[in-house]
Structures are given as structure tokens and as C-alpha cells.
């Protein structure tokens, strides 16, 4: 089974980190590939709706290219806004999962409630949209921005870790969250330490989405191709033109 992860920003370091996090939970027989756009062909980080628009284009393009190269058994959109998720579902019949979606589903299975700790507060509106879209408006008791930019996570010294840990503790102690969802693919490597610190499950969407895609693949369950998610004719035409 091959699972392809799409990091829609241009950071190679973050793509490697995502890949490593995915491999750690993949289990035997699951091959992991992580892609990102070349410099200049995508946003350096996804921290606004403006970036999100560009990220969605990247996701669609990289999946189309992967399909031309033979395709995978499942796709993960490794960016917490789940950019291009609906479009990606149109393109394939295997599972496609966004890391925000995956993290929220898994967090919901650990208890009753969860909280989200993410990067910049300006992305919280997008997180709210996703919470509502996926049906977790009662499960999600709070969402906070730490103020740490995505790329600053790459140089995660102890200060960033301490900041993130403090927000995790707040969401657990004050908002009563049973679990914490980390709101950025770039936080994938902090999961275990944070969980040990705050004493509740801390869920990274990269790991969660790999687990969910693998489970669906083993069940023979992919993306529904009924109406809304059928492959659009223009996508077909374009793929033909590119090929």
C-alpha cells in the first residue's frame, strides 16, 4: 500500500518532518511518499486565506501529477486548513483525508471533547469552518493561536515548545478538553512530548490521517464517486491535454 502526502508549502524541511511522522505510524507494508511544490510554485507557508487559495491549487496539481505517474492507494493533505480537499476527492476513487479532518476525528474518539492549538490566531476562522464542516462544533471546546508562525516551528527551540505546551495545558485545565489537536503539520514531531506533559492524548493530524487512510484502504473503502465527487469532465480534459 502506498500513501502519498501532499505538503502544499515549499518547505523541504517540513516535508521531511511530515514524512518521518507518517512513517513512524505507518506499520508494516505501508509505503510513505511526501511531496511538496518546488520553491516559487506554492506558498512558503499557509497562514492566511490568500495562502490557502494557492495551497489548494498545489494540492490539485500534485495529485494530478501523482495520478499520471501511476497513483497511490490513498492521499493525505498535510496542511491544517485541508486546502483543496473537496477537489482532491473529485480526482480519485481512493481515500483522501486532510490532516485537520483526521486529527479531529481521532481526537473525538479519545473522549468527549478536544481543543485546538495552532499557529497564528488569524487562521482560527478557517479552523472554525472546518470544525463546523466536519460536525465537531460541540466536541471542540476551544481553539487558540500561539502566535508562532509556521516556519518558526522548524527552528523549534525550547521556547516554542514551552509556549505550545502552555496553550495545551490551558485548553485542558481551563476549557476542559479531553484531548488536544495540534493545528499545524509542522508540529508533528512534538506530539509525544506534549502528551507526556499535559497528561491527555495530543493528536497530530499527519499520523492520524495515515492511520485512517490505511484503515479505509484495508476495508476497501474509498471516496464516493456519486454526483458531487465524480471526476469532473474538465479535469479529465485537462489531464489529457497535459499528458
Amino acid at each position: 500500500m502506498r500513501i502519498t502526502l501532499i505538503n502544499p508549502n515549499t518547505s523541504v524541511a517540513m516535508t521531511r518532518k511530515v514524512e518521518a511522522a507518517a512513517r513512524e505510524v505507518a506499520g508494516p507494508g505501508v509505503e510513505i511518499v511526501a511531496l511538496c511544490p518546488p520553491p516559487g510554485d506554492g506558498p512558503e507557508a499557509v497562514e492566511s486565506h490568500f495562502d490557502e487559495v494557492r495551497a489548494a491549487s498545489v494540492v490539485v496539481d500534485l495529485i494530478e501529477r501523482d495520478l499520471e505517474a501511476g497513483g497511490s492507494d490513498g492521499y493525505v493533505i498535510a496542511c491544517f486548513g485541508d486546502p483543496g480537499l473537496d477537489a482532491a476527492r473529485e480526482l480519485v476513487d481512493v481515500p483522501v483525508i486532510g490532516i485537520a479532518e483526521a486529527a479531529m476525528h481521532v481526537a473525538a474518539l479519545t473522549g468527549r471533547t478536544f481543543g485546538i492549538v495552532t499557529t497564528l490566531s488569524r487562521t482560527l476562522g478557517r479552523a472554525d469552518d472546518l470544525v463546523l464542516r466536519y460536525g465537531f462544533e460541540r466536541a471542540c471546546v476551544a481553539a487558540y493561536g500561539t502566535g508562532i508562525p509556521v516556519l518558526a516551528l522548524e527552528e523549534t527551540g525550547s521556547a516554542a515548545f514551552e509556549d505550545i505546551a502552555a496553550w495545551c495545558e490551558r485548553v485542558v485545565r481551563e476549557d476542559g478538553a479531553d484531548a488536544v489537536v495540534l493545528g499545524c503539520a509542522g508540529m508533528a514531531d512534538l506530539c509525544a512530548r506534549l502528551s507526556a506533559r499535559v497528561g491527555v492524548p495530543v493528536v497530530d493530524g499527519v499520523a492520524a490521517s495515515v492511520g485512517l487512510v490505511a484503515a479505509m484502504s484495508r476495508m476497501g473503502v474509498g471516496t464516493s464517486k456519486r454526483d458531487e465527487y465524480a471526476r469532473p469532465s474538465r479535469a479529465r480534459a485537462r489531464a489529457a491535454a497535459i499528458a
Copy 2:
């Protein structure tokens, strides 16, 4: 006052139709400009999430260019999925309104309930998302796809009109809608005849959005620049690079 409408598909005919519909309701002192991407630089029509991703890119690009050319007093996204709306709001401090958003707000002011009649049924999922995002999940009593593709509306003979009218009547008689929202910018010219036929207000989002943008502009109310909708730094950087 200048209002710029962005039609994110490449149909010049539809762009002219949108412009005409906007001018009809603009009132004295309101200049209307309607833009669309050159052929090949955007989707021919927006009928899938795949198209929506490309449309959002077009919206962002055309607004950025309009800003470089001096900008307008308000923007309308003339495509029923409201592609790129949140990103557009980040870019400007004047009002930006999508035509789905505008049509739903105006329809809600005509009574208690409304229904949506749109093009292909596969776009109803996106319409549902917008209904929920804007808070009209109780007001919107039904949404139907007519099965008429966007571009077929350009050659609207009587058959298409009759089909659309039949769906409008259904949403009023069987679903109890007080008003009908037309789910495509390409239906802008059918509004008055449909309203006469079904006996309730039939709302076109192009006209609705022009009215709302003009009203907000006269009130001195634009887009909030607080946090989520503040202009993103990467947009600033990119604009500088382009300039």
C-alpha cells in the same frame, strides 16, 4: 462610486450579461466594471470543486491587479460558489461580497424561507456549505439542480427557461419557499420573468450584491481588517514583487 465584478470563468458573454444585470440596478452615481480572465487563464465554467479551486485563484489575481490599477469602492465575486471570498476580504478594506452570499441575505429579507435553483446537482454540496457558513440553514428549505450546465444558459432558449421555472415552482409550491435564489450568475437575466411566473420574489445574486456593496459603501462600512481579514504579509510581498 466604482464597483468591480469578477466573473472567474472565461466566458465573455456571461461577463457582459453580469455587467448588464449590475448596471440595471446600480442607480445614479455607481460605475460598474466587470472582469473575467482571458481564455486559458481560468475555468470555462465553475461546476465542480476542481473548477472552484481555479476560480479562487482567478478572483485573487484579478482583485490584486485591480488594486494595482487604483482599486474600486467595492468588489463582487460573480460566481455562485463565492470562490476566494475569504481571501478577497483579506486583500481590501472596501466591501467584498459573493453573489451566493448576497442573494441569500436579500432572499432572507423577503420573508421567512427561500429555496435555491441552480445548474448541476453536483454543485449542491458547495451551496450547502455556503448556506451553513452564512447562517441560513433554517431559512433555506430546499436546493435543486436543474441539470442545465452553466454555458448552456448562454443559449437559453425557451426550454431552459421552462425547466428553471418548473423547479422554481416546485420549491415554492412543495417546499414552501417564500422566495427563490437563482444559483448561477448566468441566470441574472431571467429574474424578472421567473418572478412574474412563480409569484414570489426571485433573487439574482449579481443585482443583490451590487445593492449591498453600494449600501455599505454609502454607510462607510467596509471589510473588517481585524486579525483574520488583515492583509497578509505574503500578499504584500508578492504585490511588491509584481509591481
Copy 3:
């Protein structure tokens, strides 16, 4: 185009203020008329459900009288509880909008969220009912009473302004509102100064409703006369008896 505003309380000073606020945004070709009941024929202010019952009667009576005198192209109920709105919609086929309704719709178009700053806290229950009725329960992040009675706004010295501004700042800074809705027709003249102070759009319902009524009128969209909002037979009979 003639728009009639109904202030259901007996304060002539507030009625003049409402009229002025309406004229300021009316634009060319829009005539503004503002009515209020004579002393003793309506509540001095609307600050309770008890007052609201009387205000609703006033609204219905003044609209019936205006209709007998030839009618207008649209009506505004210039009281934040939107008293009598559904009944008013039954009486006419032109647009009728309440100022709470108008302010919330416009505020929702400026971003994602808004807060309400009103007079007495005892009126917040009614505001909640309207937020839910209009579908803004997710958009409206907070509502506060300042404790300033309606009529005290007429003598708005700097103390009242400072109080209101402080609540506006709270709703923006602490509750994360993208915009502020002013919850009383008597605050119509404070809008621009408050907006300058708090740095986000501050929306007055009087101005908002004039803009929305004018927009709907230009679109040829009025009140749906289907079933619920058809003119009731008893209203017809009574009008005949009065005439």
C-alpha cells in the same frame, strides 16, 4: 423612491435623529420620512417586552395609516427589537426591514463575526431571539448591555460615549468580533466616531436598513406574499372600517 421609517416610541428628538441618519446614507433620489406616535399613544422608550407589545401595535397602526395616505416604496422599523416586523410584512408588498435585522445582515458582510452593544441588559433576551431568528447565532459572538437607558442617549455627553466605546472595545478585543452592531436607534449618530475609535466597522441599523430597502427596491424585490405573509383578511376589513 420614498422610504418611511417608523420609530415606535414617542420621542420626537429620537425620531429626528433617526431621520437624519437615514438621510445621510440615502443617496440621490431617495426621500426619507420618519414617523412616531403622538405622546401617550406609544411607549416613551422600548426597554422591556411590555414596551415591545405596545411598540408592535404602534408599528402596525402607523404603517396602516401610511398605506391609507398612499404608501411608500419601503418601510423601516426603527427600534432594535424589530417590534411588529412579521405583522408589517403581512400588510405590504414592498420591503419592510427591522433595524436589528438590517444591522446584523450588514455586520455579517464585513467579516466573520460581530458583537452587539445595546442599552439595558434586560433587552438582551430579545436580541438573542432575533439573532437566532435571523440565523446569526454563530456570527454573533457576544452581546452586552451598557446600562444606559434609551432616553439618556438623547443627552449623550462624553460619559455615555466613553461607556459605549469601552463596551465596543471589549467585544472586539476580548470576544474577537470583526464588527460591532449598535443595539438602539438612538445610537445612530455615534457610529462614525465609534468606528474610528475601535478600528472595526460599527454598524447602525438605521443606515443599514435604508441601504437594504433601497437596494431591494431597485431590484424590484419586495415582501413575499405567499401564505404566511399574505395580507390578512381582518387587516383588510379593519382598514375598510377605518377608511
Copy 4:
């Protein structure tokens, strides 16, 4: 214990019917008084928002008069739109219950779901508002208007009964309601026969509200006088002026 029922329409026949229905369930030690406005001082029936505005005035006035005459241990608003309920709660510290409210609460205790069968379909919007206000939007699976006007119920021959029974059966068999709420005080005498016919509990709001008021009174639980429902100063002043 004395319970006063307010029928806000001018039909003496319906008032007697309401009184009889109340007495039947009152139990020992509960005195029932039923009031209505004199002809010309209220609507003949309540079948529109226009009527509702007048009915609310009647409710407030009759409660104020009853208070001046010594008051009661609880009040029932015997009109399915619950007109003036919030204002009535401001005026007293004993329980006040509307018959729509009471019927929905009792119906919810008989199982999981209920349906509403009422008079004219144009009143269904008001019923929807109340369903939402009281929190029964998931419990209420359907609401239908029979098309029978309120006053026609007074001459309930077998045809009207059969019509109403047919709608009750529909709401049970097709919509899966566990119970039926009758949407008019004038249907109070049909309850037992309808229940025998359709085989599920059929709930009349008059009986339900008397039971709830009596229960609250025995518990020593009345209307909360905190903030929103505190007696308004203008009501005090007006009562003093009248006295």
C-alpha cells in the same frame, strides 16, 4: 389555588370551551377562571401576525386588570401563538405559561417526537418560531395546517373532526410522530377522541398548561424576576396611573 386563563380573542363560546377543558384536569383545590376581551377590544380570532400583535396587547391588559383585582396563582395564555408571553412574565412573579409551550413540553415527555396539527397554514411560521424558541426543533418532526379557520371549530361537525383526525394520522404514520400537539385552543374538546382514533397521545395545550401551572405552584416555583423578567418601571407607572 386560582389559575386564570386568558383567551385573547373575543369569542365567548371558545372561552367557555377553554374553561371547561381546564376544569376537567384541574384536580381538587384548583379554581379556574377564563377571561376574554369584550367584542371590538381584541381580534375575533388569531390567525395572522397582525392578529397576534393585537392579541399580545389583550394578554397584557387582561393580566394587569386581574392583578389589580387581586391576582391569581398562575396564568395561562390560551392561544397557540403564545402572544405576549414574555411581557406577561415581566408582570407577575407567579407562573405564566402559553398553551403552545405547555403542549410541546408535555408532548416531549410522552416519547421522542411529536407533530403539530393546527388551523391555517399561514400560522405555521409562528409555530416554527415557538418550536425553536422552546428547543423542540429536533423533537417536532412535522407541522401541518388543516385549513380550518379558528372560528369554524366552534361549529365542529364531523367533517372538521375527520379532517383533523386525518392530519393527525398522517403525522403519526408518515412523519413518525410519537404524539400529536393540537395547535389551537379551540380544539381542546377533541383531544380524547383524536387520541383514541390515532392511538398515540394527543395533547391539548389548555389542559397541559393548567397541569404545569398547578405543579409549579405546588413546588413554590414561579417566574424568575432576574433582569429580563423583572417588572418594568413603565408597567409600574402605568398601573399606578390606571389605579
Copy 5:
């Protein structure tokens, strides 16, 4: 009329307290019986989902036994988690009400909002489930655990009373509750004193449920036996086997 209350824990002292609270509000002609399981046959207190599972078994068993002994005119589940309520409704055709359900319904009739003050915070999840199940998610503004275990209420010295009173005051003053619901059958005797202290209605579910069952019984309204709540065949078979 005979009403049977089931206390599913093994505390005889709490059962006597529940019985006394029920008798106080029962009114003439209502006989009260309170049952509990013998020591070892049920949980000592219900303070977790684990206890809840055992409590539900007790409720089902004690109702079955009461039915074999002739049955009652109505049943009350005297435990705030309403354990076994749906199963109990399947077994009988008379009214069955849980004390959480009853308290919330009555509290909702005293104004707009209520808060819950209960024993251990770990039971708040169950309270949330019930609030949602009964439709009070907008009415219930807050729920707090005092940290006082159920059985410690039996030795209610002034310290426990003061603690509970402090939480009641918080829910009224800070969360704006119009009424307070006490979240444990063991608090039944504190109601009047707490109400006097905080100045709003304080509702005990034992008294509330007795009033509601009596009201329904006088109306001839019981549990709907349609589909979901029809007596299950296995219950029939088992009862036959036991008999």
C-alpha cells in the same frame, strides 16, 4: 393516583428524603411510593458512567417488579442521569419521567435560561448529553460540579450548603441563569433555602417530576406506545418467565 419513584442507588436515607420531597408537592389524592435496591444489588451512588450502567439495570428491574405487583399511575426515575429512561418508557403505558428531564422542563418555564449545579464534575458529560437530548442546549447557560460526592450530601452540614449556594450564585450572577437546576436527588431538601438565598427559582427534579407525572395522568396522557416505545417482546417473555 399512585406515583412510584425509583432511586437506583442503595441508600435508604436518600430514598426516604426523595419520598418526603415528593409527598410535599404531591397534593391531595396522590399516593407516593419510593423504592431502592437492597444493598449490593445496585450502586451505592451514581457518579460515573460505570454506576449509570448498573443504575439503568436497577430501574428496569424495579419497574418490572412494580408492574408484577399491580403497577402505578406513573413512574419517576429519581437519579439525575435519568438512567434507563428509554427502557422504562418501553415497559409501561403510563408516564415515566426522569428527574433531570423534569427539572429542566420546569426550569425552562420560569424564564429563558437556567444553570445546573451538581455533585462531581465527572458527571457533567452525562448532564450535557441530557441537555442536548431534551433540547435545552440554548436554555442551559452553564453546568458546574461542586465536588461534593452524592453520599456526602446525606451529612449536609452548613459547609456543603454554603458550597452549593455559592455555585448557585455564580450561575445566576456570572452566567445569567434565570433559574437553577439542582443536579442530584440528594439535594431535594435544599431547594427552598437555596431559592431564598439566590433570589431565583431553584428547581429540584424530584418535586418537578411528581408534578409533571400527576399533570399528565390527570390529562390522560401517558407514554406513546408507537414503534420505539412499544413493549419489547423480550421484556414480555422475561416477565412471563419470572412470573
Copy 6:
């Protein structure tokens, strides 16, 4: 990794079927154990709330016994009502998932909407409760009972398959479901054939829950032990007494 499935009914045949379905998707390194109560110690099938109460007791008891015997890396409650799920979560710190919960989460990942096809219509109320509890009230577009009792599935001839297939087709064609959730552990073996027939993903909760438990286990994410789901003291005491 060892995953223990609890079938709370006494059917050994169904337990073997559940075990087989689980093994088929378990993947390398995952040991599957399926338990059920001995005849007479649990319900023969779970088709009512009455059965559900007994099933919850079985779940709690079998998990306690498995823990005494060394415990597993995760638990699945293999009964569509998810009986005892919250109590089970209190008892362990590894993942515990109900098959209704698992099936709904996976179905939600295949598109936008799903429908449920289950056994008796009387169990739909419980399904509704779970849909709401897990946040899928917008995703779940319809739920139907086939009228086929649980144990009749064991003798699934072609008639039962055709019936179930017809309901699956209805939920896809008429209600617009993107996927179908099978509402009984006894349908686990029909999944692939049904999916081939209706052309959309058909999700069996047994397979789904095994995949989710395995994914969570590999991530090191278990059940949150914060407050509500901490192991209750009475469970500890009882386990000690038994041991």
C-alpha cells in the same frame, strides 16, 4: 497488538462472523479476539432500549474480565447501539470504539453524506441519539429500518440481502447519500456485495472499528483519562473484590 471485540448478545454464530470480519481487515501483527456472554447472561439480540440496558452491563463485565486476564491494546463494542461505550471508556486507557461510532466516522470520510440501513425501525431512535452525540446530524441524510430482526440475519438468504440492498439503493438514489452505514454487526459479511451493487462505499462498523483502534494504537493515542473518563473508584473497588 491485540484487539478484543465484545458482542454483547449471546449468539455464538454472530460472534464468529464478527471475528471473521475483523480478521479480514486487521492486517499483519494484529490479533483479534471476539467475546460474547454465555446463554442467559445477556440479551439474545439487541433490538430495544430494554435489550440495550442489558447489553451495556455485558460490555462492562466482559471488559472487566478481559482486564483481569491481562487486557488488550484496544476494545470494540460490536453492537450498533454502542451500549456501555462511555462506561467502557472509564475502565481502560487504551482505545475503545463502538461500531456505530466507527462506521459513521469512516463513512464521513468517503464524501459529504451517508445514510443508515439497520434492522428494526424501533432502533432508529437510538441511532438518532448516536448521530447527534457524534456530530453527524448534518452528514446523516436518512436512516431506515428494514424490518429484518437481528437473528434473522444469521439465516441470510437472498431475500434478506435483496431487501437490504433495496434500502441501500433508496438511501443513495432518493436521499442522496454518498455512502451507506450498515446498522448491525450481523451485516458485517454483506458489505462488499452491497457496495458492488449500489456503487458507493458501504461501511461495516466492525471493520471500521478495528481499523480505527489499530490506527490509534500505532499513534500511541488511547482514551483520555481526564475527569469524566478517569477510572471510577467503585469500579476499582469492585474489581478488587472480584479478584
